[in-house]
C-alpha cells in the first residue's frame, strides 16, 4: 500500500497543464526562443561523405565573411568520418545568412573511402567495412534456456517467419540544440533543449574543462526528446567553444535536415523466428536469429548510446525452450540513441506477429492464445477488459474473410515496461503571504511534469494548483534525474509529496494551526511572521513502483486494390499505478499510439546505397502520421493508487505496430513481414505486383541465408519479462 491519500481533491482528475496558456500564446520560451543580449547564430559543417579520411579543413575564407565571429573545427588533425552528416566544423556569426555563406566557403580536403549503408549488404563477407580492422557483423549474443534442439520435435505445430523493422527517427518537433553563454570568468549558462539538465551540465563542464558548479543549465520549456536529448551533443560542445572564443552567447539549433542524420535513431532489426507449441496453443519452443544496426558504431555490444540494436525476445512470453541470437551490424550511418522504449517495439513486432501466425495455424483466437501464454496476471486481465470493450468476439473473423475489396481486420498485442521512480530532491517554500514555491531540478519533456509538481503540492496543501508556483528546469534547483525510462513522474511526484508533507507539518508547528490545509492555509501563513518555511525533501520508497503491462487492440480497413491502410480504431488498456493527472496521462497514451502508428505504417529513414546519403531528411518524405491518419483512440487506464506512481510514457508506444500489423494480416489473409506496412508491401503480399525486377522486400528475404552461421559468444540478453 502506498502513502498517497485515499481521498483526493486534485490527484487522478483531469487537470489542464498549468503552463498550457503560456505555450499556446507563445509566452513560453524554449531553448530555440531564447535570445540573450548579443547572441550569435551558430551552424555546423557536416561530412558530405559516408566515409572519408579528412586531411585538412581550411576555415580562413569562412572567417573572412562579414559578420562571422568564430569558426572552429570539431577536431584537429586527420580523422576518419564514418557517416554522411558527421560534424566537421562550425561557424558563429551575427546572422543566419552570414553563417550559411561561411559554411560554403570552408574547404575540406578528404579522401573518400568505401562505405556501406545497407544492413543486408554490410553483413556480406565482401562488403566495404565501416572499420577496417573489424567485420561489420559483430559477434552474436546468445541466450539459451531449456533444450531448444529437442523441443521442436515435441511441438504439435511449428511456425516460422522472417520479420524486419526499419530505422525510425525521433523527430521531436523542437530540434536538438542549445543557446550557450560562457563568460570571461568561465561561468557558463546554457539554455538547452534537453530531457536531462544535469547530464547537459556535466557534459558541458567536461567539454569546457570547468567545474560543474560553474555551469547552469536552464530548460524552462522544451519540444520533445523521446530519448535522444540527454547530453549537450556535439552541437552543444561547439556552441560552448565558440561562445568562449567570442565572449558572446552562441545558439546552435539543428535544422530538420541535420536532425535526420546525426542525433539518434531507433535501430533496425531483421528477425528470423521459429515458434512451436502444443495443439492447445501452449508455447514450447522459440528460436530467434536476428541482427540489426544501431549505426556506424554498431559493431560494439552496446555501441551507439542506445544500448545497441538488441531487443528483448521472446518478449513478454515465457517459453520453456529458448534460443535467441542477436548480432549488431555496423553501417555508415548516424548512431542510435535511446528511443522511447528501446528495443521493445522491435521485439514486440516479431513475437506478436509470429504468435498470431501460430494462432491462425491452430485455429485459436488471438486473444485466447495470449491468455494461455501471458505470464502476467495483470495483462491477462487487460486482455479480458479489452476483449469486452472492443467487442472483439463480434469483430474477429478468420483471416481474409471480410467481404469486398476493402477488407476489415482486427489485431491485438501486449507490452511491458519498468518505469519506476528514483532519487529526486525538491524544495518547498511557504511564504508569510501564503504563496508557495516548489523547486525541483527536473524538466518537462513535454509530458506535463510542471503540472505534476503543481498538482501534488496542491493536493498536500489543499490549494488549487494555480496557487502553486512550480519551478523546474534549472540546475540551481535540487537535483533530479533525466527524463528517460518513463521515470519522471514516478521520481518527481514522491519527492514533491515528501517535501510538501514536511513543509505542511512545519507550517502547522510554527503557526500553531492544527490543520493548515485549504481554507486555513493563508491564516496559518500569516502567523509565520517574517520567516518563510523552507523545506527540503526527496524521493522515497512507498510512493512509486515499477512494472506495467498494457495491451492494445487495433481495427483497420485495407484496400486490397491499392494497398492503402486506414486505421479505424485503437483501444488501449494500460495500468499505470496511481494516476496523477488523467488528462496528461491520456495525452501520453495518445502520443504513444500515434508514434506507434508512424512506426507501423509510415516512418522510415531511407538511405541511398549508391551514394551513402540520406534521401528523406525532411517531413516531406520522412512520413509522420498527420491528424487525418489518427484513428479513434479509446483509453482505459487502470487506476491502481495502491501501487503508487508508475510512468507510462514508453509502454504505450510499444504494442501499437504489432497490433496494427496483426489487424492487417487478419484483414487480408496474408502477412506483411516488414515495417512500415506501406501500400507497396501490401500489394506485394497480395501478389498484385506484376512480375518484374526484384523488389526491396524480396531482397530482405534472401538476407537470412547469409546469417545462417552467426558466430556466437555468451552474453546477456535484455530480459524484460516481469516476474
Amino acid at each position: 500500500m502506498s502513502d498517497w491519500p485515499k481521498k483526493t481533491e486534485y490527484l487522478g482528475r483531469s487537470t489542464p497543464r498549468v503552463d498550457g496558456p503560456a505555450k499556446v500564446t507563445g509566452a513560453a520560451k524554449y531553448a530555440s526562443d531564447v535570445q540573450p543580449e548579443g547572441w550569435l547564430y551558430g551552424m555546423i559543417l557536416r561530412s558530405k561523405w559516408p566515409s572519408a579520411v579528412i586531411r585538412s579543413i581550411d576555415l580562413e575564407k569562412a572567417k573572412a565573411v562579414p559578420g562571422i565571429k568564430a569558426a572552429v573545427t570539431v577536431r584537429n588533425g586527420e580523422r576518419h568520418v564514418r557517416y554522411y552528416g558527421e560534424e566537421l566544423a562550425a561557424v558563429a556569426g551575427v546572422s543566419k545568412q552570414a553563417c550559411l555563406d561561411a559554411l560554403r566557403l570552408i574547404t575540406v580536403e578528404a579522401s573518400p573511402q568505401p562505405f556501406v549503408v545497407d544492413v543486408v549488404e554490410a553483413i556480406k563477407p565482401d562488403s566495404a567495412r565501416v572499420f577496417a580492422d573489424a567485420p561489420n557483423l559483430g559477434e552474436a549474443k546468445i541466450k539459451e534456456e531449456g533444450d531448444i534442439h529437442g523441443a521442436f520435435g515435441k511441438c504439435d505445430v511449428v511456425v516460422e517467419g522472417e520479420f524486419s523493422t526499419q530505422v525510425q527517427l525521433h523527430q521531436a518537433l523542437e530540434t536538438h540544440g542549445n543557446t550557450i553563454q560562457v563568460e570571461t570568468d568561465d561561468a557558463c549558462t546554457a539554455w538547452a533543449s534537453t530531457q536531462g539538465i544535469f547530464s547537459v551540465r556535466d557534459g558541458l563542464a567536461s567539454n569546457l574543462n570547468i567545474p560543474q558548479t560553474r555551469v547552469r543549465v536552464i530548460t524552462d520549456y522544451m519540444g520533445g526528446g523521446f530519448g535522444a536529448k540527454f547530453g549537450p551533443g556535439v552541437e552543444g560542445s561547439l556552441a560552448a567553444r565558440m561562445s568562449r572564443e567570442t565572449g558572446l552567447p552562441v545558439k546552435i539549433m539543428l535544422t530538420r535536415f541535420e536532425e535526420s542524420l546525426a542525433v539518434g535513431i531507433r535501430p533496425s532489426s531483421y528477425q528470423r523466428i521459429k515458434l512451436g507449441a502444443d495443439k492447445e496453443g501452449k508455447l514450447i519452443a522459440f528460436d530467434l536469429d536476428a541482427f540489426g544496426s544501431a549505426g556506424f558504431a554498431s559493431g560494439g555490444s552496446s555501441a551507439g548510446g542506445g544500448g545497441g540494436a538488441g531487443f528483448p525476445a521472446p518478449y513478454i512470453y515465457r517459453v520453456p525452450n529458448v534460443r535467441a541470437k542477436h548480432a549488431g551490424v555496423a553501417i555508415n550511418a548516424g548512431s542510435a540513441r535511446a528511443f522511447r522504449a528501446p528495443g521493445h517495439p522491435q521485439g514486440s513486432f516479431g513475437m506478436e506477429s509470429i504468435l498470431d501466425d501460430l494462432a491462425v495455424k491452430l485455429g485459436i483466437d488471438p486473444v485466447e492464445i495470449r491468455l494461455k501464454n501471458d505470464p502476467l496476471e495483470l495483462r491477462r486481465k487487460e486482455y479480458e477488459i479489452g476483449r469486452e470493450k472492443f467487442d472483439w468476439l463480434q469483430k474477429y473473423r478468420p483471416p481474409g474473410t471480410s467481404p469486398g475489396p476493402i477488407k476489415t481486420g482486427v489485431g491485438v498485442a501486449g507490452a511491458t515496461w519498468g518505469g519506476g521512480g528514483r532519487g529526486t530532491k525538491a524544495q518547498a517554500t511557504i511564504n508569510p503571504d501564503g504563496t508557495v514555491e516548489i523547486r525541483c531540478g527536473t524538466q518537462d519533456l513535454g509530458t506535463g511534469a510542471r503540472t505534476v509538481v503543481a498538482l501534488v503540492a496542491a493536493e498536500i496543501f489543499g490549494l488549487p494548483p494555480e496557487r502553486i508556483s512550480a519551478r523546474i528546469g534549472d540546475t540551481e534547483f535540487p537535483a533530479s534525474g533525466g527524463s528517460g525510462g518513463s521515470t519522471t513522474t514516478a521520481s518527481v511526484a514522491p519527492a514533491i509529496f515528501d517535501v510538501c508533507t514536511k513543509a505542511l507539518n512545519e507550517l502547522q508547528v510554527l503557526s500553531g494551526v492544527a490543520d493548515a490545509r485549504g481554507a486555513n492555509f493563508d491564516a496559518a501563513c500569516r502567523k509565520l511572521g517574517m520567516e518563510p518555511v523552507v523545506m527540503q525533501g526527496e524521493w522515497r520508497e512507498g510512493l512509486s513502483s515499477s512494472g506495467v503491462g498494457g495491451v492494445q487492440f487495433a481495427e483497420v480497413d485495407v484496400d486490397t486494390e491499392t494497398g492503402f491502410i486506414k486505421v479505424k480504431k485503437i483501444l488501449v488498456v494500460q495500468d499505470c499505478g496511481l494516476v496523477v493527472n488523467k488528462l496528461t496521462a491520456e495525452s501520453q497514451v495518445n502520443g504513444g499510439v500515434i508514434m506507434g502508428l508512424g512506426y507501423a505504417l509510415y516512418e522510415q529513414r531511407v538511405m541511398d546505397p549508391q551514394t551513402g546519403v540520406c534521401l528523406n531528411p525532411n517531413f516531406e518524405t520522412y512520413k509522420l502520421p498527420g491528424a487525418a491518419d489518427v484513428p479513434e483512440i479509446e483509453i482505459v487506464l487502470l487506476d491502481m493508487p495502491e501501487r503508487g506512481v508508475i510512468g507510462i510514457g514508453e509502454p504505450v508506444t510499444i504494442p501499437t505496430a504489432a497490433a496494427v500489423a496483426n489487424a492487417v494480416a487478419n484483414a487480408i489473409g496474408v502477412r506483411v513481414h516488414s515495417l512500415p506496412i506501406t501500400p507497396d508491401k501490401v500489394l506485394e503480399a497480395l501478389g498484385q505486383i506484376p512480375a518484374g525486377p526484384e523488389t526491396a522486400s524480396s531482397d530482405l528475404d534472401k538476407s537470412f541465408v547469409v546469417v545462417e552461421d552467426l558466430p556466437a559468444v555468451a552474453g546477456e540478453f535484455t530480459d524484460d519479462v516481469p516476474s
Binding site: 541511398d608 516531406e620 518524405t621 498527420g626 506501406t678 506484376p690
Partner: protein, 320 residues
C-alpha cells in the same frame, strides 16, 4: 540560401524584362523557395509576379473556365462552379499539400513545379536532372519514381492540377519571347518526356499567365492514392473525363500522374472505350490497356495495380 535581389513586376512583359540572366519568377514560392534553401536554385534575382494584373481572377463565360496563373490552389478547391462544372480540377486541388500550402500555392506554380525526386532534391548530389551523369533512381531507391519514361531520368511529374487539366483538355496561356502561346497540357510538358534536364517545355523567361478549361458537357473525376490520408504526394493520380450518354462514354480522356515525366495520356485505353458502356468489364480492360507498356523498376511495380484501380474507379465515378 544564396543572397538575391528582389523586384516587383507590374506587367507580364516587364516581368520578363526584369528576369535578367539568372532570374526566377516568384509567385506562391512553395517550390522555388524550397529549391533555393537547398541551393538547387541560386537565382541572383527573384521577380515577384504575384501582383500582375488579372492574374488572380477566375471567370466562367460561355462555358469556359478561365483561371489567372495566380489563383491559389485553395481558391480552385473552394470554387463551387469548378466543383460542379469541372469536378476533376476541384478534386485535384483539394489533394494538393496541406491547407497552409494550398492557401499560398498558385495554379501557375503548381504547373511549373520542379521534380520532387529525392535524388534531385538531395542537396549534396548532382543527379542527371541537375546536370550530372547519373540517374541515381534507376538503380537506387525508386519507389516514388516513374514507370514510364522516354529518357534516362525517371522523375515523375507530380502536379495534381496538370493531370486534371490534361483530362479536361485545358489550354495553358504562356508568355514567350515570341509572344503569347496557347499550349495543351501535353505540349506544356512534352520536353520532359525526352530530355532529362527538362522539367517541362518552358524556356527560361517563359511565364504562365492563365489557363482556360472548356466544358462542352463532359463529366470528369480525379482520384489519387498516397501513403498518408492527407498532406502527402500521390503515389499515382488519375483524372478522367468524357461525355456520358445512356451509360456509354465518348471522347474519353484518361490521364495518369506520378507515373511518367509528363501527365501520361492513356490514349489507347480511351480509344478502346469509345462508344462503350462503362461497366466493370470495360473499365478493367481500359485499365489493362493503359498500363500495358509500363516498365517498372525494382521498387515501383506496385504503381501498376494502383494505377489500374484508380482508372477503374475514376471511370466508374463518371456514372455517378
Amino acid at each position: 540560401m544564396k543572397a538575391f535581389e528582389y523586384v516587383n513586376a507590374l506587367t507580364p512583359t516587364s516581368a520578363a524584362g526584369l528576369l535578367g540572366e539568372n532570374g526566377r519568377y516568384l509567385a506562391g514560392g512553395i517550390d522555388l523557395l524550397g529549391e533555393m534553401k537547398e541551393y538547387i536554385a541560386t537565382p541572383s534575382r527573384v521577380v515577384n509576379v504575384k501582383n500582375l494584373p488579372e492574374s488572380k481572377t477566375l471567370t466562367v463565360s460561355d462555358g469556359v473556365l478561365r483561371l489567372g496563373a495566380n489563383v491559389t490552389v485553395a481558391g480552385i478547391a473552394a470554387e463551387t462552379e469548378i466543383l460542379t462544372g469541372w469536378p476533376a480540377l476541384a478534386e485535384a486541388a483539394r489533394d494538393v499539400g496541406s491547407p497552409q500550402i494550398r492557401a499560398v500555392a498558385t495554379l501557375g506554380g503548381n504547373l511549373a513545379q520542379h521534380s520532387r525526386c529525392w535524388y534531385y532534391r538531395q542537396r549534396d548530389l548532382t543527379c542527371l536532372k541537375r546536370g550530372g551523369n547519373t540517374c541515381y533512381a534507376r538503380d537506387g531507391q525508386n519507389k516514388y519514381n516513374a514507370i514510364f519514361s522516354g529518357n534516362p531520368c525517371i522523375s515523375p511529374v507530380v502536379s495534381n492540377l496538370a493531370v486534371a487539366l490534361s483530362a479536361l483538355d485545358a489550354r495553358v496561356v504562356v508568355q514567350r519571347k515570341e509572344g503569347e502561346a496557347s499550349l495543351t497540357v501535353s505540349e506544356l510538358y512534352q520536353d520532359a518526356w525526352s530530355n532529362p534536364l527538362a522539367q517541362n517545355s518552358l524556356a527560361p523567361g517563359d511565364l504562365i499567365l492563365a489557363v482556360s478549361v472548356p466544358s462542352d458537357g463532359r463529366k470528369s473525376a480525379y482520384l489519387q492514392m498516397s501513403e498518408k490520408s492527407d498532406f502527402d504526394w500521390a503515389l499515382v493520380s488519375c483524372a478522367v473525363s468524357g461525355k456520358i450518354e445512356d451509360g456509354k462514354i465518348s471522347g474519353a480522356r484518361i490521364v495518369l500522374g506520378s507515373v511518367a515525366p509528363v501527365p501520361l495520356v492513356a490514349a489507347d485505353a480511351a480509344a478502346f472505350l469509345e462508344g462503350k458502356p462503362l461497366d466493370e468489364s470495360s473499365v478493367t480492360q481500359a485499365a489493362e490497356i493503359a498500363l500495358a507498356k509500363a516498365t517498372p523498376f525494382a521498387h515501383n511495380g506496385y504503381k501498376v495495380p494502383i494505377a489500374r484501380a484508380l482508372i477503374r474507379r475514376a471511370l466508374l465515378k463518371l456514372l455517378v
